[in-house]
Symmetry: C2
């Protein structure tokens, strides 16, 4: 275990905060609630970006860019939307500074007040639908399948790095369709893309389902979501895809001439994932020794460390190490050879272990004699001796094995921490003693959900798409219910 590093069981929350900082992923900035994403953290986000961007393009989407600012009046056009975001808006009111007449510095110039205040986008439905109005005349202009990679701002009162920050990076897809069915299909398709990304790249199992009305996006008719379980048993909403109906088309008067020559309102979806996924990734796999990264998202997949007593042993080791590096790179594996003389091997072992590099190769003079190296895997911390001959294939297999193992471990954890509750007492006992996901009956009313949330802090994470029909009674009200939903405390 890393020195002075708090364990998950001692204090999960502190473990997370320290890990984020000490693994050089991010740090708090001088601006309240805004973080600095450090190079190592940003390199992981870039890998996420690239994989998702390709998945979006492969499903027919294109990128575009819309303004950072939204006129206040636009935000107000859709009633539920403004209700949902009004309390956390950063507002630009002026466009100039000037020298303080007192000579004591620089002040906001009162003469440079904007006629209409601008909101720093918390999400872009309104500015985008105001734009789509000009792009859409007839059914031939549909569908529009746009995505935007951008920063957004929501003035959250309690912030935590990656999980909840005032500014965050994300992508937001905004699509326009001629029919309701096509829009619903799109919203479902993009939820599948998110689930695939979470499971195949992040090695993070997710539940797919639909949000209850209380948890729905402000302005949506339906919100689909993927929910993951963190190692403390709490749920984390990892991505959402919204069927917006015709709400924004009506708010911005976006109609199209159908192929039956009728003027109709356009159907919409929006969908997004954010740097919050970084928090999910960290909390799904990392351990008391630091970060654990799935190979598909690790900026460095393999680190090679030379072991030597005398400097004159280094050239021979380096020759072999660089040969291994080249062979691995030819397989598309990212490799770092750390031959810095200023740090000892033990220090380097700890450093890369803490930073979650999936595979470590150590090579010394005796290894070269034997034609072997020592290979350590980060997920299990196991070491093994590998022959150098054909090592690239073995390492490739090992990386796949680590990727699969991390997923299996996380799935196993989730399954072990998903329980049914049939009474209110059982529900409370599980929540307080074990946490995790609770499958329980709910009467389908917002009032019951609200009451449960107030009493227990647990919310309905989703109504799983694959929840079987089953007659039961609501754990809170005792009223009849047709299927179990997933309750949990959440991030």
């Amino acid at each position: 275990m890393a020195k002075d590093f708090v364990t998950r069981s001692e204090n999960y929350s502190e473990w997370y905060n320290e890990l984020v900082m000490r693994a050089d992923l991010a740090e708090n900035s001088a601006v309240r609630g805004c973080m600095v994403i450090k190079p190592y953290g940003y390199a992981i986000w870039e890998k996420m970006h690239d994989a998702l961007d390709k998945m979006f393009k492969d499903t027919g989407h294109v990128n575009a860019y819309f303004p950072l600012f939204i006129p206040k009046s636009f935000l107000c056009r859709e009633a539920e939307h403004v209700e949902g975001f009004a309390k956390e808006c950063a507002v630009v009111t002026h466009y100039r500074l000037k020298n303080d007449p007192d000579g004591s510095g620089v002040v906001v110039d009162p003469d440079a007040r904007l006629e209409e205040e601008l909101i720093v986008r918390p999400t872009s439905e309104t500015i985008i639908w105001n734009t789509y109005k000009n792009w859409i005349k007839s059914y031939r202009d549909l569908p529009i399948l746009c995505n935007q990679w951008a920063n957004v701002v929501r003035w959250e009162m309690r912030t935590r790095m990656f999980l909840r920050t005032a500014e965050f990076l994300w992508q937001e897809g905004h699509t326009a369709h001629a029919t309701k069915e096509e829009a619903i299909e799109e919203a479902a398709r993009m939820l599948d893309v998110y689930a695939d990304f979470a499971e195949k790249y992040m090695a993070m199992p997710v539940l797919k389902g639909i949000k209850s009305p209380n948890e729905r996006f402000a302005g949506a008719l339906d919100t689909y979501c993927i929910e993951a379980m963190m190692q403390d048993g709490k749920a984390l909403q990892a991505g959402t895809s919204h069927f917006l109906g015709q709400n924004f088309a009506k708010a911005f008067d976006v109609k199209f001439l159908s192929n039956e020559n009728k003027l109709e309102y356009v159907w919409a979806t929006s969908w997004g994932v954010s740097t919050r996924l970084m928090g999910a990734l960290i909390m799904t796999h990392s351990d008391d020794n630091g970060l654990v990264l799935p190979p598909k998202l690790a900026p460095t997949q393999v680190v090679i460390i030379p072991i030597y007593r005398n400097a004159d042993q280094l050239p021979m080791i380096s020759e072999k190490a660089n040969e291994i590096k080249r062979n691995l790179e030819a397989k598309g594996i990212s490799v770092k050879y750390d031959d810095r003389d200023s740090f000892k091997p033990g220090w380097k072992f700890n450093e890369y272990e803490f930073k979650g590099v999936p595979v470590r190769i150590a090579i010394g003079p005796r290894d070269i004699e034997n034609g072997t190296v020592e290979v350590a895997r980060r997920d299990t911390l196991q070491k093994e001796i590998y022959p150098i001959a054909n090592i690239e294939t073995q390492i490739e297999n090992l990386l796949n094995d680590i990727q699969n193992n991390l997923y299996a471990k996380a799935l196993n954890f989730r399954e072990g921490n998903t329980r049914k509750a049939d009474t209110w007492e059982e529900f409370n006992r599980i929540l307080d003693e074990e946490g995790g996901f609770i499958l329980a009956h709910w009467d389908g009313t917002p009032e019951t959900e609200e009451a449960i949330k107030e009493k227990t802090k647990a919310t309905i994470r989703c109504i799983p798409f694959d929840a079987p029909e089953e007659d039961g009674k609501c754990i809170f009200s005792g009223k009849p219910s047709k299927r179990r939903v997933v309750f949990a405390r959440s991030y």
Copy 2:
């Protein structure tokens, strides 16, 4: 020529604005001075991003992300810096909206006033150097070679799409060094990267040089720049790289322990290019028939259009077209096969010509009989018959040829429009009658530069690195001068 499309000689400025809109590159948004970058324009920007990002990484840089907001007091720490940006700052003063007590909508909540106003970053030196303070203790922490891809806001009064917008996308590199020499070397290296990118990807020749004090970045000791010539003879500053000395280190008290165990201030550079490059790209190559794109930045490099009378001819054509497409794609060439039945070939020819697709292949039943296709190149509008056999190699060569031809043509234009002036009368005559770059002697004083700018609207674009020493007299003051500098009217 496209119907209703104004020519460059009729009205260059209108030609540019129309081209940007009609080629689907961008449009003005509902927010004053902010544009929407449409999918086709954004796809070109993505190509620029990817090429530059690779060049930055190949020169040892890493990406990171810093906050959108800068506390007002930070901006004020460096005196020249705040002086330079104060007049164009978007200022966030509140963090919440609320229902209007009159019931007439939503208003800014006066109780949610920020203690200290936040500036939407116009550039990030201040917030970054406040962060670097925590990252730098000793010479071992140096150099720091960070880059950020981000949006920035400068409240410009007169805006034009891509060239000058209130919000724009850019990258900003911010590096920290132990010595002055190393920082200067870095600033020069990054200018070279920009020049390479401009010439090799954008096919746009640039002059490399140093800015006169009047044109220097606010807070820099020296600003290096690349300057390009647009087709109307005006100059466009395409990228800048700043040697910041120790100004920001002093403003934010960033010191390091040198290897001689002394506490010293850190040396800095910053460098950036923006979506302004899109404007430069458009104005360098495009013509009265629309956009002209260099193949290396064209989202679609080759379009294949089927020519047929009866629908039953299409399958045979499509089979051959798709075979050609696959063969081209295997060479890394991006190809679109447009077999839409809803548009006629002539319409498609115009469309792709207007959008600047470098190569068009037309294929009909007789071509298939003859084993040939008709190939048209966008730069010269020439058509030629190519045998289908081994067409991928010929098209690859053609794309290279177009890339080189565009560069040569632009270089030729610049050389033909660069003139020496030795008297004030000559200087004025060339400016008014011919435009372009004027090589003239200048006495080296800001006063003279300012006076020339006031009388002629021409500024010193740069003092070229390769300007030969030459005794002369300042065209304005008659005082002695050691070398010619480049004057021009500019964007």
